[in-house]
Symmetry: C2
Subunit: 323 residues, 2 copies
């Protein structure tokens, strides 16, 4: 399913967003602009701003001028985290494009990320709504805590269990999608229950999205996924299929490969095979479907409308996507 199709109810808003994002580059020095333009191209699906717009449809006042800086800030801060994540993961490719640290240098990628963080918070400050800044600062705060925890655990070789994994992806992915929904609701003056339902929806599809992403990191064909496969494992980070496999697979080779940080092409194939036989991919996919199912059930509390349909389609997309 094409993502653009999901967003047809907010097509004009998504078009304005692209113009707005372009416009924010107007302030940038030419050397900065090249780097940021590159990141925007690699940016992809614009899920966070779409959630801001869709959630705002459930508020009393849908004011595009008020929403645009918030939607743009969500995407820009997302791009900032991608620039930094790619250095941390040592990823060379994202969505088929060379990553910033590979194309320029890690130094430039660090600074481009910082630049985008600053740009994002600048836009949020301009809304005159301190809660918008606080919500987004909190997202970044939690994301970093989750990732530092992951990095330190990977350095010290600490094993991950399912609970730690879910907590980690909550901080890494779900909170951002949840708070994008909340920001849209807040800026449109939605009531408290509506805001909570939308936030929980974002949280559920966020968990589902990340689990599916972690499965695809091991199973997808590299070209379609547009990323280097197995990056987590190579960095010593254990994701749900591997965690499940480590307690359920009988093949002793799994632990070797997981601890040996799967260097060779052959190792990855073998790992895939073992995790397939132990039902670990199916287990992870089932869990993703359960989280997304919870997210969807909550939506029935909201009035039926085009925006609700779009959120439902987005939930379907999360569990069914193959890239």
């Amino acid at each position: 399913m094409d993502v653009q199709y999901l967003f047809r109810v907010i097509m004009p808003e998504m078009r304005s967003l692209e113009d707005y994002l372009e416009g924010t580059l107007g302030d940038a020095d030419p050397s900065v602009r090249d780097v940021v333009t590159h990141l925007m191209r690699a940016g992809g699906k614009r899920i966070r701003p779409a959630l801001v717009f869709l959630a705002a449809k459930f508020g009393g006042t849908f004011d595009l001028d008020r929403l645009l800086p918030v939607a743009a800030a969500a995407e820009i801060i997302h791009m900032a985290t991608l620039a930094h994540d790619d250095i941390i993961d040592g990823a060379e490719v994202r969505r088929g494009l060379t990553t910033v640290h590979a194309e320029w240098s890690p130094q430039v990628a660090i600074l481009a990320g910082d630049y985008l963080f600053a740009q994002g918070f600048r836009l949020l400050a301009r809304t005159g709504e301190p809660r918008a800044v606080e919500i987004m600062a909190n997202v970044v705060f939690e994301m970093c805590q989750g990732e530092i925890h992951e990095s330190v655990a990977a350095l010290t070789g600490a094993d991950a269990d399912e609970k730690a994994y879910l907590e980690r992806i909550g901080k890494k992915t779900a909170i951002f999608l949840a708070e994008s929904c909340r920001l849209g609701a807040l800026m449109a003056g939605a009531d408290e229950v509506t805001t909570r339902v939308l936030r929980m929806f974002g949280w559920g599809i966020g968990l589902g999205f990340q689990i599916v992403d972690d499965v695809l990191d091991l199973t997808s064909s590299s070209v379609a996924f547009g990323k280097t496969l197995g990056t987590d494992l190579r960095a010593g980070v254990l994701t749900l299929p591997v965690i499940h496999g480590l307690t359920h697979a009988t093949d002793p080779r799994l632990r070797d490969i997981a601890q040996g940080r799967a260097g060779g092409e052959g190792d990855m194939e073998e790992l895939k095979d073992i995790l397939g036989r132990s039902g670990s991919f199916a287990y992870a996919e089932g869990m993703a479907r359960r989280f997304v199912g919870d997210a969807v059930r909550n939506l029935s509390l909201l009035p039926e409308c085009d925006a609700r349909e779009a959120l439902l389609s987005m939930a379907d997309f999360v569990v069914e996507r193959e890239v």
Copy 2:
């Protein structure tokens, strides 16, 4: 001169700041706390929060509870930039302590910096003053533009002239000191002219401070300075003494060393000698004194008081410091 001595008029505020900074760590995960505690120890002089407090003394209402989050945010965001700068510069030591990327990993240092940025903006958002967020976001924004420009110039081997250098250190250092003054004035409700004088004071001492820092990077004994010397040059970044030397020194070895990115211990000594003979250090120091002199002259527009004395001593410290 001891920096603590300069701050005696704001001693209670500086003590509260330390407690407040400690308190902000309360939210952190233990693995994050270690990293951030390390950064706080290496943090140093607390010049930015001191400027917030001192500038606020010229406003109508000096409310410590209102000032603390802003002063803390200034220091925390400064720490964030240090964590990232140290990776970018490849510095192993800062103020005699191992840098975060050397002690843990570049990954952890990137995330710790992001975490601190988020923490800083969270504190600013809590003041309920969107202008405080916007001012600080703008500081980070300009700093990053300056540094990306520097990194890209170093990568492409572009030469720097004095004008480009001054623009760069304006963005890299002076704007942060200027805006720290402005934030203090803003939070204390100072009038517009007072705010402008304080901001220009911060700008002037900021330029002076950075020029002196760039001289010390080449002349200081490594132990006293607490940093690895010559890091800028090794990264291909030309600072004022070198820029002056390149057009004024007659010794052809200077260009070789500057372009060869001075690897050996002997190269650094030779460079120091050449720049000493061409009067390039004296030139740079003279320029630092001129900027600080301008900053000081403006202060006479403000009422005579303890805070003004403290700012004057700070200006003296900037040009006279040897570490």
